[in-house]
Symmetry: D5
Subunit: 96 residues, 10 copies
């Protein structure tokens, strides 16, 4: 079951650079693990912004919520979700 | 080169049902041809709306514009585009 | 799996009163059938508006989309959905 | 008498973790007490957000105001209310 | 129980002048009857607009909804409501 | 001459509780004095918010401005005004 | 007493050209009469738009409302008003 | 050449009162000098807000930019400009 | 003197195709004449939209207004202007 | 390939003046180097704002993203991009 997720990140100006670097590294590992497990289908950077567009494939809304709120950068993110479904014109078997 | 495209469709109430059906059929064929050519990477329906989220892979902004304005339903669409690029955390080789 | 759905209805001024009455009757029957099947958990009228707030309980986003786009009044509605999940403070067993 | 209430929570970054944990615990007890008393009919988490959608059943607007402003997290919330009434298509006797 | 109600009126350009005049007259009588009954506490014109701000005093949200949707001009109105309660600084006994 | 005024209050998180209490007390006295003088006709609390809707009756815009900017909480308020006039359907002699 | 007024004009596409020309001529005469009477202090065109910014000098909100709703183009206008008062830094005696 | 300028001022809560008073005094002198030179044609206070509406008369956009960014309070302002021109209905020779 | 202009075009659905084609041709000739005269410095299409971003170089706001309102498609356009000036970092002598 | 970029700059009030001056100097050098390389085609100041409108000419969205996120002031900017393409009415050979 697919969800379109947009994440905008805003780190506080007062966060030390090392703390920011550490958080981003943990975030990257978390994201890549979910991608390899097939939960986080796609992630793209929005050009010129500290933001991404992602496609999640989850078994339930509960799972979506758990995955998103477990993001290491969650406290510094604004997140918007949108439920997606297969488009009748789609030719890709996996886009559902 | 990737672009995030959101299309909202609004057919005029005065359009005869057959005309609408014909346009949607032509639109579907056009979309599927572009998908098979690899230009229209993904298309998902937004749940509960006559709208879609798509990912286009084009060689230039000119090509993006030509593909979008050639949509049979273009006169009845509101379109918003957003340039995307590879996310440093992405593990998919093709999401670029 | 729960979704919060808001529906705003706007019938065209040119629709004959009987056609409007007929559509609303079909809409009511459709809604009540889904409520009895447990798919449409709640429906409330927003005071002073031709609009409602509903809670749907579906097995998938696909099902949500099918139920909403099958609404007899769908062509005259603006619909917004929002995925919901169980709140950790909730004491109701069925609000999940 | 029913009200739709949306609460968005934003704790200040400077709040110590223990203080946040303590506040959330008190909030939970307060919410569950009101739920058991039938005043707070429903509470759902909005997926991916530190926010909820709730349905309150109160005897008056005064009571609604008192309940909301007594929330332990009230100083950190943005709250929007919307009066609801029974929908003519509703089949649930208690959704009024 | 008080509600703040804002009504914006937009008559269709195609409505004949006599029909508009007749509707406004019925609207006026309806409004004045409710005012005399104490249900419609206040009504003010917003300067330069075909719109008003009103205060309703009702026994329930149901009653508010019934009064508003029975307005002769309801099909041509955009209505927003906001629940009000007594302000702790108020010195007027009747503003509750 | 009537003005509709909406005041949203936002005290800084760093303000000591006693200072906030003192300011609110002064604000209350100021408000009640103006109410007794007939300048501040009505004040209602918006349910669930630290905000009010008020009706001012002033001799000039200058007076309105002076009254509002003299509010003890003015530095912490967002204020919106809207000129009101007698509604042709009003039956209250004093709502002008 | 001064009010800032912004008027956006939108004539229906179906209005015959002669009718539009006639209305604009009557509007111009009405505006110039009020300007000569000192009620309509200033009127400027917003570049590139069928819109204007005006300053009205009236004795009351009632008068402002009467002048605006008597505009020949009023049915085709969207109007926003904003009460103005003398600025403490102003050196012009007449800008009050 | 005329420009409509709206300035909203927001001084930081941490600014000492004397610094604020000093800045406002310098701002006033700067504004009055430009008014006497004819560059700053009008300035009005928006009732109930720490904001003004002004009309500037400049020889070029460059000059407008220089005058605005030289405002002592510029770092604490949000500024919006709008080019104005003579209205065909205007009877004032100087409103151009 | 430079202005940033954004034009969004919306032709009415009822306009015959030949009329639309004729208008676009006249619009093109008008635009190219102004470009050759140096008044319309740049024009770019916004990808996926019937809209453009343009840079005008005019001697006055009056001239800007005259050029824009003389556009053959003006009645079907929504236009927003923004005054521009030379950027201190610019290395192009002509971008002023 | 062209992109329209709008940058709004907001330096934190706590940044020391020398740090701000140093950052702006580095920003200027960076901008001018890109302009000389032809990557940053145009940059204009928006009158009265600490903001600019720019046109970038890049080989890919990736390059656009790299150039923008390498801006010395990037952490203090809000950036919006919009893909542009040649307008069919354009007479300039280089505006593509």
């Amino acid at each position: 079951m697919l969800f379109h997720v947009r994440m905008n990140v805003k780190l506080p100006a007062s966060m030390p650079a090392e703390e920011a670097a550490r958080l981003k590294q943990v975030e990257k590992e978390y994201s890549q693990r979910l991608q390899r497990e097939g939960k986080w289908r796609h992630i793209w950077r929005i050009a010129g912004q500290y933001a991404n567009v992602s496609i999640f494939d989850v078994d339930s809304v509960e799972e979506l919520h758990t995955l998103l709120t477990s993001l290491p950068l969650f406290p510094y993110m604004q997140i918007e979700t949108m439920p997606l479904c297969r488009h009748p014109s789609s030719v890709r078997e996996d886009d559902r």
